[in-house]
């Protein structure tokens, strides 16, 4: 991180203007109440997304717009950030996505068009790296993970393990990069993401009927909640987990989200609350006049916004009831 936080003055000034154009809860509510997908589309063309959604000829192609919007946000942040490493860190997720896609495509012997052109490593280079088993250009942890994937798949042929290994490597890399950059806010974000993913994984693994050993394979280290803390709950009713986490910062989230999951058998509430939890955390850094916090927050805000738009469009195209959409809509950042 640059020593002088005022280096962010320009970036933050620009983010302030962009933040003001994020879609708010009100607008999402109106879109949910729209009678058809076309009406939602019309509302979008009256918003910040006018130019991109205005060109959409077939409503079913909305995904291409969402991914080009994502690409656009990364481009923008890359040009305004005084600290390029920040964007590189935030883009690592997409590198890992691309790695997963390429590995699976290779084992299936197919070509895939699922690459997301946002990662730090250009997709062309990534394709070559996987094709030639040459991961020198990747960060160390990812390189080691990629080699491990290769070894494991030849023996076990389990596609799930590809994801598990790479996810673990990703979050370890994220934590270590945030530490190296000495940005506690960023590290705090990743720690919370890790904890929330681990909590979710715990319940999922339990529902799938797997035990502690499997959970260990899927567990992401470096969170505030350790494996010892969570692993024990796998053989016990989730009620005890809710009690056990009652003293942590996730108390309300777990109490509401996991209880709802147990009652209704769907993780929708939990997942929404988990995303909202991250949003609330990032909001704390929103008004930092200088520093990377508003940039991180804006990126997340945009990702959540795209998620909400996708949810509404998919919901409207498939005529889901408004309630099903509303209960899943993530809180807006503004």
């Amino acid at each position: 991180m640059p020593i002088d936080d005022t280096a962010y003055a320009y970036a933050v000034g620009r983010i302030r203007a962009l933040e003001a154009r994020l879609l708010d809860q009100n607008r999402f509510d109106r879109m949910i109440d729209a009678s058809s997908a076309e009406e939602v589309l019309k509302m979008l063309t009256e918003s910040e997304y006018a130019s991109s959604f205005g060109e959409l000829s077939n409503i079913h192609d909305f995904e291409t717009i969402l991914s080009s919007e994502l690409r656009h946000i990364f481009d923008l942040l890359e040009t305004i950030t005084p600290w390029p490493e920040l964007i590189a860190i935030m883009a690592l997720r997409y590198d890992v996505h691309n790695l997963k896609v390429l590995f699976k495509a290779r084992y299936l012997d197919i070509k895939s068009n699922l690459l997301i052109p946002v990662g730090t490593c250009p997709t062309g280079k990534m394709v070559q790296a996987v094709a030639e088993d040459d991961f020198r250009d990747l960060p160390d942890r990812l390189r080691i993970a990629a080699e491990k994937v290769n070894e494991d798949f030849l023996v076990n042929h389990d596609p799930q393990v590809i994801d598990l290994i790479l996810d673990q490597a990703l979050f370890e890399e994220l934590i270590s990069r945030a530490e190296k950059a000495n940005v506690p806010f960023l590290k705090g974000l990743f720690i919370r993401q890790i904890d929330l993913i681990n909590l979710k994984t715990l319940v999922r693994v339990k529902n799938m009927g797997f035990g502690r050993e499997f959970f260990k394979k899927a567990f992401l280290p470096n969170g505030n909640l350790s494996f010892d803390q969570l692993g024990g709950s796998i053989d016990e009713p989730l009620e005890s987990l809710i009690v056990q986490l009652g003293m942590t910062e996730y108390a309300t989230l777990v109490d509401e989200g996991i209880r709802d999951w147990l009652d209704r058998g769907t993780a929708s509430r939990f997942e929404k609350l988990a995303d909202d939890y991250i949003t609330a955390y990032l909001k704390k850094g929103k008004w930092m006049p200088f520093g990377p916090e508003p940039l991180i927050g804006y990126l997340w805000a945009k990702e959540v916004e795209l998620k909400n738009i996708r949810l509404i469009l998919v919901g409207k195209i498939n005529k889901l009831p408004a309630e099903a959409i509303r209960e899943r809509i993530r809180d807006a950042y503004i």
Partner: protein
Amino acid sequence: MEIRVNPTRMELNRLKKRLKMAERGHKLLKDKRDELIRQFLILVRKNKELREDIEEELSGAFAKFLLARAVMSQDNLEEALMYPTRKLTLDIDKQNIMSVNAPKFSWHEDSDQDEGNSIYPYGFAETSAELDASIETLSGVLSRLMELAEVEKAVQLLSGEIEKTRRRVNALEYVLIPKLTETIKYIAMKLEENERGALVRLMKIKDVVRAKM
């Protein structure tokens, strides 16, 4: 009905034999038809049950899948499901239902998948938990889906066979048998007439002979 036969006793016997055969065939075909229909009804009932079951489960799974789709980006979702955890090999055999060759499916999972692997082909960090439930349902429904396909094909083939048999029964009952009966009647009449003619002729001859004496 135009009947062009030689009204001879030999012909009559031949026709009578044919009629008997036709009647026996008719009875057999009718029995076959009834049995086919019975089998058909059993299969249809099974088909209906299976179908309703599966449709309910599938529509549930699709609804869940849709929701998972709604909260995950397309790229993430497709990446998650890109590599199938299960590979099936399907063998098709014949099975004989009332001499109808219906397919018989048998399937087994390919062995390059290890036993311990889960049915979920994706990791947890980037996927929605709502996906799990739909994958689980879909995975459980697979074998019954095959069964349904098998039953449905059998039902289809049976209904074709029933149709064919019914046409044959009808042809025998309404065309061949009445025609044969009529022809037999005609020949019998003709023969009787000939007989009467011969009798009259004999009587006449008798009269002439008696007058001359």
